[in-house]
């Protein structure tokens, strides 16, 4: 219900429709750009090859030549950070790409069809939500074998229920509405009705949820890397770099510090964006 209000008010105000973006949304987006753009430009920005080892220059402190120092195999940490962003961001994108549609499909089908299908799908959703997501995902990845794809699969399989619940609630509200009756009268039925009229109504609440989830997926993905379950070495990945640095944390603290800082910044970016989207999209939170 409340989800439609911003659209309605935006239409009504027409022309004066420009609303200043909340500072947290702006800040989050800027932080995100700060991570995504260097990741895309990594080959041009990095002065060293992320995989080239130079044992003569191992465990160097930050210097002009190596702004973030070198790791235990003498590889340039800054270049590895730049390339490492790709593994994390790729995983996050992959998870979002499958988790959201899966959850939406389950939720909209359950909410729209109702009856025993609804009861079954809701029971399934509640069931998956009752399990510990991180531990189950860890077990899943370790049993099926480490790797980026298995990490993504584990996170999708434990993450979809939130979206199903959300989409189901929204669909139930809409099911008997004049809005959908009007669409049906125009001959819009079936998949077109669900995709064109029910789905958009789920978007405002969904994007807040997704931004929050992406923040925690970054943390989960880096935890996988930290535990040695993520991408295979020598491909750089932030969580794995923290684990490498943890062996020398008492002498060369910066090796673990920099990748962890980037994990924090990436996760913070999504959390800020979520906060901004919530204040922006939902008039109940606006002041």
């Amino acid at each position: 219900m409340s989800a439609q209000q911003p659209h309605a008010s935006a239409l009504w105000r027409d022309g004066s429709g420009y609303q200043a973006l909340p500072p947290s949304l702006l800040g989050g987006s800027l932080l995100l750009l700060l991570i995504v753009v260097p990741a895309l430009l990594a080959p041009w920005l990095s002065a060293h090859d992320p995989l080239t080892q130079n044992l003569a220059l191992r465990l160097q402190p930050p210097s002009l030549l190596h702004p973030c120092g070198t790791d235990g195999l003498g590889r340039d940490v800054l270049s590895r950070l730049l390339y490492g962003a790709r593994a994390t961001l790729g995983l996050v994108a992959l998870v979002a790409l499958f988790m959201v549609p899966l959850g939406l499909l389950v939720g909209i089908v359950a909410g729209y069809l109702g009856g025993w299908i609804d009861r079954m799908l809701t029971a399934l959703t509640n069931l998956v939500m009752a399990f510990p997501p991180l531990v189950l995902a860890l077990a899943f990845v370790s049993v099926l074998g480490p790797g980026l794809l298995n990490c993504a699969l584990a996170l999708v399989l434990t993450g979809w229920p939130a979206y199903a619940r959300l989409a189901r609630a929204q669909t139930r509200v809409l099911r008997q509405s004049d809005y959908l009756d009007a669409a049906r009268m125009q001959g819009i039925v079936g998949v077109r009705l669900l995709c064109g009229h029910v789905l958009p109504a789920c978007v405002p609440t969904l994007q807040v949820r997704l931004a929050l989830d992406l923040a925690s997926i970054i943390l989960a993905a880096s935890a996988f890397g930290f535990l040695g379950l993520g991408v295979r070495p020598p491909t750089p990945e932030w969580g794995m770099m923290v684990a490498d640095g943890s062996k020398v944390i008492f002498e060369q603290w910066w090796i673990a510090a920099f990748p962890g800082l980037l994990i924090f910044v990436a996760s913070l970016a999504f959390n800020l964006a979520a906060e901004g989207l919530r204040d922006h999209g939902d008039p109940r939170h606006a002041r």
Binding site: L127, L134, A215, I263
Partner: protein, 344 residues
Amino acid sequence: MNPDGRAATQRALATLLRSAATLAGTLAALLCVTFALSSLSPVDPALKLVGEHASAATYEQARHNMGLDLPWPQRLGRYAVGVIYGDLGVSQSTGAPVARDLRRVFPATLELATLAMVVSILLGLALAMVSAAHPGGATDALLRVLSLAGNSLPIFWLGLLALYLFYARLQWVGGPGRLDDAYEYTIDMPTGLVLLDAWRSGVQGAFASAVGHLVLPTLLLVAYAVGNIAQLTRVALLTEASKEYVLLARATGAGRWTVLLRHMLPATASVVLTVLALTYTNLLQGAVLVETVFARPGIGRYLTTALFAADTPAILGSTLVIGACFVLINGVTDLLVRLLDPRT
């Protein structure tokens, strides 16, 4: 008993039964998940037992002894019966039954998570009340920063940095492990709860050592939990603040803090309970990473050690135990919330 009271008792009983059924169903589903994972594993346990060079007959014999040649419903049945009798298989890395290993390590995790939980509740509720009593004040800003940081900082990284700063540099606290090496091998651990065992051992300095090693991991977990507890409780309190009974209580002359403590906090009991259950389950999961970073023997470290060794029985056993705790905490909270608030 009057008919009204009897109806209420019956309703409560029905709620109880329904919750118990849901709980049993969820636990059974968890069992199916770990069973499915063990069947999907590319590691062949029989091959791992007899080795690469065993003859086909030995291999078949091992498969038969382990029940791997049975159809899957029978294997699931055997697995379920085994778990009910406390048989989680034998760990391939420690060589001991997984159930015995878990019984040894689980109390340490429970100790860490519970301690963190108690500190977080006290601190979180206090912050929430201060913030609700002075909306828009400095506490609000502090809470916002705390929960943003708690939701964005990778806990394993913050733990490492804290170890570097407070142990290696400042030497304020104990380092990795649960006790200094001098005590680790000299005192026995009958209960597995480090504080209790160190206290009862009577060894000079053992208790102080245990506390010194527990402070940092506990505070780390608290830092993660407190922001969310306070934030969610604050929202619940502010929702109550606009209700008429608060106005009435204030009009009768009750002070702001009296109303907060005596009227509003009890009214938000079900929200607070849900928040606490959520926090406790999160702390149990967080302990997995914290124990790994701080090298504290607990179920989390047992699980991550098993991950490195691809020790499937140990991984699935730990998953089952942590999962069961998760399901039980959620189930009991759900029941309590329903009983507290008959409207739901």
